[in-house]
């Protein structure tokens, strides 16, 4: 397929996943706020900080309260990382490859964008934010379902799938990082009794509460980290995401699993091997934040590897 098209389909999927995860981020904070009255200031600020846009936010909005943060992260057209602008970017990418994706996918993404854009002009979100973010997640799920069941699982789909799962791995790690920090500022607190309610909210934010329960029953921080990082079956766990992204990468290149012929496969294979032979204790000992930092560096290398291999090869093949 055309390199430009591969790039656009990958970014379309990444942006949609990014928008969905931003909704999850906000949603978990809303829930935590309900469970921890009076904690608003400590909850909303880290959310903006995690996006790296806190300076811009302070200039324009000042106070880190619910309404300001939600507006900034959801509808602000000047914020290049708001749900609305991210979806717009997804849609621009999709528009440039309409002939490659299925009409159903395009229409669903179009409806998704219009839903958020129209909501920007009403008070619906301020009145009932939970419902709105639930709806955002639904639109994203619908889009994924429509894509999976209307598009041939060909090279284009694999680029989309790879983009989606790499983005998801990145975002799951960030949700964990931010909430771990907010809920557990001191390393010594690991293992001490924690508020079930709060960590349940974190699990719920990645739709993982029920699946976690089936696997572990009781809530401990260590198990939650294990579940979200190392689980091989839960579709938002980092290990699962990387395994699926790796399958798509090999489907695209035709290289045998477990081997590599390009930098993308090399970096992704190495990261998978690292996770495969890692246990949660070593992650916690290393420090979760340090672990997430290193993970993100490696995800960036994988992204660069994909570009160098498929999109913009340095040498003409």
């Amino acid at each position: 397929m055309l390199s430009r098209v591969a790039d656009s389909i990958l970014w379309m999927a990444r942006y949609v996943e990014r928008a969905e995860n931003l909704a999850r981020f906000i949603d978990v904070t809303l829930n935590l706020q309900i469970d921890m009255p009076g904690s608003a200031h400590t909850q909303w600020e880290p959310l903006v900080r995690a996006t790296g846009d806190d300076e811009k936010f302070k200039e324009r909005y000042g106070e880190f309260n619910e309404q300001n943060v939600i507006t900034f992260l959801t509808f602000d057209r000047k914020n290049s990382n708001s749900i609305l602008t991210i979806l717009r970017a997804a849609r621009e990418n999709a528009r440039s490859i309409r002939e490659t994706i299925s009409s159903e996918t395009w229409e669903q993404l179009n409806a998704f964008y219009h839903f958020v854009r129209d909501a920007a002009d009403t008070d619906a979100v301020q009145e009932s934010p939970g419902d709105f973010f639930l709806e955002v997640k639904h639109y994203s799920h619908l889009l994924n379902g429509v894509t999976d069941s209307t598009m041939s699982h060909n090279e284009g789909w694999h680029f989309s799938n790879m983009g989606r799962l790499l983005e998801r791995a990145d975002k799951t790690s960030r949700i964990l990082d931010v909430k771990y920090f907010t809920l557990l500022p001191r390393v010594e607190d690991v293992g001490s009794p924690v508020d079930d309610l709060q960590w349940s909210a974190v699990l719920r934010s990645v739709s993982g509460f029920e699946m976690y329960r089936k696997r572990y029953h009781g809530i401990t921080v260590e198990r939650i980290v294990e579940f979200l990082v190392l689980d091989r079956e839960f579709p938002r766990a980092i290990q699962y995401c990387l395994a699926e992204a790796d399958n798509s990468l090999h489907a695209i290149s035709g290289t045998a699993a477990g081997t590599f012929v390009n930098p993308a496969e090399q970096h992704l294979g190495r990261l998978r091997a690292e996770l495969a032979f890692c246990d949660v204790k070593s992650i916690i000992n290393q420090g979760l934040h340090e672990f997430v930092d290193s993970l993100q560096t490696q995800l960036n290398l994988i992204g660069e590897g994909i570009t160098d291999t498929f999109i913009d090869p340095k040498t003409v093949v």
Partner: protein, 492 residues
Amino acid sequence: MTSSLSFHDYKTESFFDEFFDANGRPKSEAKILIDRINALPDYDLQTRQEAIDRALMRMGITFAVYGDQQGSEKIFPFDIVPRIISSIEWAHIEAGLKQRIKALNLFINDIYHEQSILNDEVVPRSLLEDAVSYRPECHGLNPPRGVWCHITGTDLIRHSDGAIYVLEDNLRCPSGVSYVLQNRQVMKRSFPQIFSETRVRPVSDYAIRLYETLQSLSPEVSDPTIVVLTPGMYNSAYYEHSFLAQQMGVELVEGSDLVVRDGFVFMRTTRGHKRVHVIYRRIDDDFIDPQCFRKDSVLGVPGLMDAYRNGRVALANAPGTGVADDKVIYAYVPKMIRYYLDEEPILPNVRTYVCEHDDDRKFVLDNIGDLVVKAANESGGYGMLVGPHSTKAEQTEFAELIRKNPRNYIAQPTLSLSRVPTVVDDHFEGRHVDLRPYILYGEDLWVLPGGLTRVALKKGSLVVNSSQGGGSKDTWVIAGNEAQLQVQSQSE
């Protein structure tokens, strides 16, 4: 306020109406639809119209409102009442279009080779050499079967005398066929039963016919790689480029996706370079190759013309076809038909005054207030004076332009376009329409039964362009026999 749309109070107001004759009686081809609409429950038609508007928005069949940072988009307005053409009339139109396209192709091939029509002084040589869209670079080129123009969208109008006239030929990159196909899809969803009762001819095989036409341009390759070349997503016809590529199942490429290497054309893919055999280009001649035509073009592919000249890639339409879009050359098409085919034109031209001719120029200058004056090489309503709607100052300005450069101007009578009933708020009113059928020329000539009916939605307006309050309608060609209701493709 009436609660239901019906034709009981509809007035043709002395215009030629496509649904009703001068005495207000329904025409036979429209009768079934008129009866069905009259019998619909209250508000039914409005509900269906709203559903269609929503569907068009959802499908993203929109055009961007330029200069709007919020990314607002509008749908190309669609009116639910179709235009209907009887099978007999369509047979006449179809024969006329085939005749005209055949003659135009012979003309283009001739002027880039022997130029016998110039040598025989049927068309003045000076006229050709002054035509802005004439491409000397194309001399001696030999597209397969001598066909230069593979895809045409001819603009037709019906005048108050009831006859169909050719207004423009559009031999370069005619657009709009995607609306024909989408309009039909939404109409079928809205009126499933009426379609079978009224025996409307299908249009859904356009994409496969287009594919076959393109395939035929690369006869030596059994399974050629075909692409659609677009200027990009900010082009106003981008939706159509993408739609056609999707419907044909081929890649939609931009200039930067293509590269010429060792004289062949390749596209950049995730697995390296891949050879391209046929390009359906939706970029004007001027921009397709900066090495050959406009040097500043960033939309095109350097070296493309060389590859084309050496027969290593096929282009549809061939470069150089635009010469026959020159509005002065248009005036000579009836002569071309007689010259090349020894036939009388089936579809007449609109009476055209060529300002270069002294008699014509005098007539135009004396009657400028009643005529439509057009510059030879402009399109899309630019460089145009509509006499009856112009000021004295504008008329003086155009008279001066004509005197200075008579070669560049023609004039035509102000035509009265026929009307079709159209939904206006809660009732029907007649609105003026034109018609753009689409013709493919590969192994054979094929005319899509139907075409884009554009409608001037503003009361009294004759301007059907979407930028100026125009919309579109589905176009129903009634089948003359059972075979015409089938969709057949030549291969598979």
